[in-house]
């Protein structure tokens, strides 16, 4: 069973192992299908029709399963690797360690947004984008441009304090913990981080930027934290809801797991600390 750690506490060797596993997956063709799957759901999840990956209650269990699939793909390359998370309430500047040349690489350059440092810089020859919105095949970032500030610890605490998991109409206009965490409503946590990073992270093909996994790992950790703080509360809706995934319904595209199956992750992985 793996322990998912804060990226700020990884050793140099752990950082290297994670980066190398990601590069190996990219090289063997296993990475890009994750980007395609994500965008498939991004463009088909709609507020007034079927919605599974986003803007719906299953936003959290869908990404939990999606991260597990990715983590298993990395572990097939290197069994020692676990997903790290990025606590953006703490590491909140464009010069934080996460953006170092030994890990995610830095901000994009001002002329065209191209990331030119670190293992995912186009010039390194290991990170060409094949599933993209447009003709540019290099990784881009514009840290802090689309929105100036990452969510704060107080913002995050205010969302963790919402005691109802989700609410009708179960979409981007819902009240509840899920939608405030996803960010269509309220202080905006998850969506805001995508916008803060910019470049491909702002698009439906956001997993093209490996920081996607670290961001979503933290979102998953926040869900886990919410579960710990609200032991009497569970995933909603429970049954009979059109267009959205109920507690015991299987989720596409895997059609093997339900939200109920994913509520307790302690048999598969744990987090190093609470929030």
């Amino acid at each position: 069973m793996g322990v998912r750690k804060n990226q700020a506490n990884l050793t140099a060797q752990e950082k290297r192992a994670f980066v190398n596993a990601v590069l190996a997956l990219k090289a063997n063709g296993g990475y890009d299908p994750f980007v395609t799957t994500h965008n498939q759901f991004i463009v088909s999840d709609v507020d007034n029709g079927e919605r599974t990956g986003h803007r719906s209650p299953s936003f959290l269990p869908w990404h939990r399963q999606y991260l597990l699939e990715f983590e298993r793909a990395l572990q097939a390359v290197d069994p020692s690797v676990n997903l790290p998370y990025w606590d953006w309430t703490a590491d909140r500047t464009a010069t934080a360690g996460i953006w170092g040349a030994d890990f995610m690489g830095g901000n994009g350059r001002s002329s065209d947004g191209q990331v030119t440092t670190g293992p995912f810089a186009f010039s390194g020859g290991n990170w060409r984008l094949n599933v993209n919105t447009d003709s540019r095949t290099y990784l881009r970032r514009q840290l802090g441009t689309g929105v100036a500030q990452l969510p704060s610890r107080a913002d995050t605490e205010s969302v963790l304090a919402i005691t109802t998991y989700d609410a009708a109409p179960w979409n981007s206009s819902s009240a509840g913990f899920r939608n405030n965490l996803e960010g269509w409503r309220g202080v905006n946590l998850h969506n805001r981080v995508h916008v803060w990073v910019g470049g491909q992270m702002a698009t439906g093909m956001s997993p093209n930027d490996p920081v996607f996994w670290l961001h979503h790992c933290f979102v998953d950790k926040l869900w886990s934290e919410w579960q710990k703080r609200n032991p009497g509360k569970t995933y909603l809706p429970t049954a009979g809801t059109p267009d959205v995934v109920d507690l015991n319904e299987r989720m596409k595209p895997w059609n093997t797991v339900t939200p109920a199956d994913l509520l307790d992750h302690s048999g598969t992985y744990t987090y190093d600390t609470g929030f």
């Binding site: 395609t36 003709s135 109409p169 202080v187 805001r192 702002a202």
Partner: protein
């Protein structure tokens, strides 16, 4: 689009180009859209059934018009009812429950109108061309 609308649009466009040029000089960037403190809260404005646009923005032709949704890959109930093109290529977009809009280029940030959405995409593209979305 009626001739009237077109004439108004041309005037508006010239004014906007002037304003945009001034902004570019002042700040080195053109800020379009209504990003709120939360990274993209926009106030919805109904584009209305007749609100088409066809303009050149930063050298790119952007067009928006009501559509019956037939061109949408995942149609089933999406009901976007609107279509935006950049130099003729479709910008995948959708409407949120609160009436705001998002596109595949700016997926996590909402815009009040399809026109603001199109301009934001042009800003992000920096001259690059949209490619058809791969869904399998």
């Amino acid at each position: 689009m009626s001739e009237d609308t077109h004439a108004t649009e041309l005037t508006r466009r010239r004014m906007l180009q002037g304003a945009a040029a001034a902004l570019t000089v002042a700040t080195g960037t053109v800020v379009i859209g209504l990003a709120g403190p939360g990274g993209g809260a926009a106030t919805a404005a109904d584009p209305g059934a007749s609100d088409s646009f066809d303009e050149v923005f930063q050298g790119r032709r952007i067009q928006g018009r009501p559509a019956d949704g037939g061109s949408h890959h995942h149609g089933g109930g999406a009901g976007t009812g609107y279509e935006v093109r950049i130099d003729g290529d479709e910008l995948h977009m959708m409407r949120n429950a609160d009436g705001t809009w998002i596109s595949v280029v700016n997926h996590y940030q909402t815009f009040a109108t399809p026109r603001a959405l199109a301009r934001a995409a042009v800003n992000d593209l920096q001259g690059a061309t949209l490619v058809p979305i791969v869904t399998a």
